[in-house]
């Protein structure tokens, strides 16, 4: 009896070792590239051309790579601000438009309701990569070519199918009685929506926001095609200039610094709002 429980304990021990061994190995593979880049970006410029073995700065911590990066385009601040304007603008517009649409689809009856809903969702089937040329021409006709606002509108449109779907479900989950009680208290229309219902669908808003932010911050092809002047480049487009290098030489320090600037906000937002991100993913997967 005793030996049996001992054997079982020993087996549990070895299982635990195997489990954490595999876990740590896997975690290492997925984490190492981040750590190597972030650490390497703080090496002085004399080191930045060498292989990152070891990845951390050997002869002292330095911001050389960030200074070099700042020398590209209109300066790293300008491009970071461009990226922030586009991403945060996309978040605000996406939330506003999808909250309104989600409320409309959840609470009202109107002609062609289902057709319009399917129309919005169906845009998921069509890749935006295939309509870039007309988008370019339409934005030019609207006087929005090479503008961050134009790019923002495209990103909002790309977010709509997911966001409207999420917000409609969020409003569907709010009991009608709350709305009726608020109506009796004299709250109407937009006031009712903003004051009474919006706080109740905040988890949905968080989910929609985080997806809008990450997708707008990370998008590359549309920004590459639609932005034509240097001063307007978002970070990923700026990085193509860094990647191309100057006079045939690539400054890898600047690449590491640029990658660090681009990934830190994503990791930060995700780790902070992970719960809402996963909710969105599950909603998409279950659907």
């Amino acid at each position: 009896m005793k030996t049996r429980s001992k054997r079982r304990a020993r087996r549990a021990f070895w299982n635990g070792i195997a489990y954490h061994g595999v876990g740590l190995g896997t975690a290492f593979f997925f984490l190492a590239p981040f750590f190597v880049t972030i650490l390497a970006s703080f090496r002085p410029s004399a080191e930045s051309g060498r292989p990152p073995l070891p990845p951390w700065p050997v002869t002292g911590f330095s911001f050389d790579a960030y200074h070099t990066l700042d020398g590209f385009g209109s300066g790293i601040w300008q491009h970071t601000i461009n990226s922030l304007i586009v991403s945060l603008g996309t978040v605000v517009l996406t939330v506003a438009i999808s909250v309104l649409a989600g409320y409309g689809f959840s609470r009202y009856r109107f002609p062609l309701k289902n057709v319009l809903f399917v129309l919005i969702i169906a845009t998921l089937m069509i890749p935006f990569q295939s309509i870039l040329t007309p988008l370019f021409i339409i934005l030019a006709k609207l006087g929005l070519n090479n503008s961050l606002f134009g790019l923002m509108l495209i990103y909002v449109t790309l977010q709509l199918p997911f966001s409207v779907f999420m917000m409609r479900n969020a409003f569907d989950a709010v009991p009608k009685e709350i709305e009726e009680a608020a109506r009796i208290d004299g709250a109407r229309d937009i006031k009712l929506l903003v004051r009474v219902l919006l706080p109740l669908v905040m988890p949905g808003v968080a989910t929609v926001s985080i997806f809008a932010f990450l997708n707008a911050w990370n998008e590359f092809l549309a920004a590459l095609v639609l932005l034509s002047s240097n001063g307007n480049y978002t970070l990923p487009v700026l990085m193509t200039a860094v990647r191309a290098g100057r006079l045939g030489a690539i400054d890898w320090g600047a690449v590491q610094a640029g990658v660090t600037v681009m990934i830190i906000p994503c990791l930060f937002v995700f780790l902070l709002l992970q719960r809402y991100y996963m909710r969105g993913l599950m909603a998409g997967a279950v659907k």
């Binding site: 896997t26 990152p52 295939s130 040329t133 449109t157 092809l221 991100y277």
Partner: protein, 305 residues
């Protein structure tokens, strides 16, 4: 049954009509954006694809000329072939990694949610950032991989990973697996967790071996999830652009030009806008077909539970 009563009451009727317009007003901004930036562009792409459409000068109607040109365009056919090759290989690679990972993080064990989060981290950074990161790691002089391989004695000299097709392709695959596997893992995990534990327990008690349980219980019950993960992986891979543009600039001997990359080149480098539009329609048709097959697959899954 209550319809006539409602219709006969004028007050109710008025309210319903006004609420109808109100509902439309709420969804109007969303519909306006989708119309201007999605529906119109799709129609416009179709119209452009029937013209020779230079950047400057008047477009000229050429009917199906662009579509006929496509079939004789060796570079387009090569891009199509490469994209198919890439899609098949990368999808197999992602599933080969993501499926074991999904099993690994399925059970509640110490640290399991930390492992899940860590594996998922690369999903939230951009494909462009990931490509830049890995193009540095794969660089022969300043990167990590070649010196590391040499140090470990696996290669005699420092290997220039991005110089030959096979090694460059392998590097891209490893990068994409690193970037995407966590996503596929989470999708598969939702499917795994939806399987009732009683079923697996019953099978275990009946003496089914792990492989038999996987083959005859897990896989059939995960049909819907599998179809979804598969379709997301396939459509995503067909639209690949960032990794080839940033990592290999089209690759050794221009052998890594994907379909979207080729459309980009035709439309925005050579400015053959009409031909680019026709290629876009071809891409669109391929993806819509895949979406239709997806719906059909999911439906088949419903019929045979």
């Amino acid at each position: 049954m209550t319809m006539p009563a409602i219709a006969s009451s004028p007050a109710r009727k008025r309210r319903r009509r006004s609420s109808g317009w109100q509902g439309l007003a709420y969804i109007a901004p969303a519909i306006a954006l989708v119309t201007v930036f999605f529906v119109l562009p799709v129609i416009f792409t179709l119209w452009m694809s029937l013209h020779r459409w230079p950047l400057l000068g008047a477009p000229r109607w050429i009917g199906l000329g662009n579509y006929l040109r496509m079939f004789d365009d060796a570079r387009f056919l090569a891009a199509l072939g490469f994209t198919t090759h890439y899609t098949v290989v990368v999808t197999i690679a992602i599933f080969a990694i993501a499926f074991p990972l999904a099993f690994f993080v399925e059970k509640q064990r110490p640290l399991v949610s930390t492992y899940r989060t860590v594996i998922f981290l690369p999903v939230v950074v951009g494909l462009a950032s990931a490509s830049l990161l890995w193009v540095w790691l794969a660089n022969v002089d300043s990167g990590l991989l070649s010196p590391l391989l040499q140090m470990l004695g696996l290669t005699e000299r420092r290997l220039n990973l991005l110089a030959t097709f096979d090694t460059a392709f392998l590097t891209v695959i490893v990068m994409v697996v690193w970037k995407i596997a966590g996503f596929t893992m989470i999708i598969l995990l939702t499917g795994l967790q939806a399987i009732p534990t009683e079923l697996t327990e019953a099978a275990r008690i009946d003496g089914a071996r792990p492989w038999q349980r996987f083959r005859h219980l897990t896989l059939p019950l995960m049909r819907r999830t599998l179809a979804l993960a598969l379709i997301l992986s396939i459509t995503g891979s067909i639209l690949a652009f960032d990794q080839f543009y940033i990592m290999t600039s089209g690759g050794p001997q221009n052998r890594m030009i994907s379909v979207v990359y080729y459309i980009f080149n035709q439309s925005f480098v050579s400015f053959n806008l009409g031909y680019g539009a026709a290629l876009s329609i071809a891409l669109l048709v391929i993806l819509v077909l895949i979406s239709v097959i997806q719906l059909w697959l999911l439906k088949v899954g419903d019929d045979r539970p």
